[in-house]
Amino acid sequence: MKESILLAYKKRPRAWILNLAIFIFIVLIFIASTPYIPYKGIQEKSISIAYSILYGITQPDFSYFLDFSKGALPYLLLETIAIAFLGTLIGAVFALPFAFLSARNVVPKWMAHVGTFFIAVIRTFPAFVYGLMFIRVTGPGPFTGVLTLAVSGIGMTAKLFTESIEDLDMGIIEGLDASGCTTIQKIRYGIIPQLMSNFLSTTIYRFEINVKNASILGLVGAGGIGYPILAAMGAYRWKDAGTLLFGLIVVILIIDYFSGRLRKKLATGQ
């Protein structure tokens, strides 16, 4: 065999050492975590409960869907969508100033840091904490849900808005500047076309999340279908829980489908 090939073989990088180190590190983390995550076995009734829920979801009681009175399934779903819709819109409106104030290409750097920090603080509060705070203002009910989703959505929405603003193509605006455009025209032709579709896309995405988050609102009694689901599960009414969940899943699937298509359209610009 040729000398040069053997030499090259000897010089091979020992990648496996790093891989092994990473593997051992992960194993160590798992070992270290065991005292924090004690396994206490499976609950006695767990199989039958899991079965009941699955049964409820797969065999929903369709008569629920025909009851159009207030507080019945269709109304709860409508209420959930309404809460998510208003909450998302208000959240997006409030996110706008935060987003512009933390975009590094709009404000000075220190200002952007302050803005980013503020967004991080808003994001740290879990949604149900906002829920508890708003309940003092508006009492239990869907109104509280709207405010909760609005405020808890500001953080993520503002962060994504900021990213779109920072991705702005400034060349276009300079070009408009050079052709003697007024500020309004610059905003109309240079900035809005670039930002609008991104902002809309983010807002629609947040709407999706907010419909899913409706169950969290149930924790604090802030309206929507969340509370009835949690109550049914808490009282071991699995068939009810399954049917309500089925309703929510169907609504989420429909919304996901249309918002996915809409966002694809916005992204490709058609």
Partner: protein
Amino acid sequence: MMVAWFKEVIFPSPLELANGKIVKPKRSPMVYVLPIIFVLILISMEITGFDFMVLVNRGYQFFVIIGRMIPPDLGFIPKVIQPMIETIMMSIVGTLVGAFFALPLAFLSSDNIIKNKIFLWVNRFVFSIFRTLPILIIALLAKYVFGLGSFAGTVAIALFTWLIMTKMLYELIETVDMGPFEAVESSGAGRLKAFWVSILPQILGQFISFILYNFEMNVRSASILGYVGAGGIGLLLNEKLGWRQYDKVSTILLTLLVTVYAIETLSRAIRKKLS
């Protein structure tokens, strides 16, 4: 001023360019989208009982709790550390387990690898249904199976991560360069082997990014897990909220903020190194 501004946005006037050409902007779809949104807002306000006056009259109540949170009870920090570590451990283990199982499922859900359309369609549909379940419901179900405590919370995080990461991964896999895969397949390797040596190296960096991103998300959502009794910092948060010890609540939130910030900084550094 505002009116003119909105008019300009919705019914833009023609723009004359420097070379004398007149650009007539296309009529924006806003012309019919805005009225629809307006009507939807009115309907939603009716359904949710939205009342602006309540906000004006009682809005100060919101700041009552905030006021009680300040100043945070810093002496409480030592009692927060332990549950915080528990939360981090739950998130690490849950995220890693979820990611571990996401890779094979993503493999089975990518339309450029699996050519059986029926299998692909059924597989994706079933898991898109599971994906609609909020983490709160998953945590509740885990609690019924594994009992109160952090093990149920870890299972919930793992399941949730598994479902989300699978979708992120297969969407990524569908964008990779299939040339190397074809080359390895043409040498007589099966699809799994070909995937492993030709596609995995292409997605590995992104995959690690996803893991870090999900880890951040999971530490954040830990508070909700505690609410249903699934362990971690959320349990403590829930307790202090129940007792209305808001200065301790703010201490917990402060710890969470610092932790999340540290994780974000660390993961940003790792991601930078990867790319």
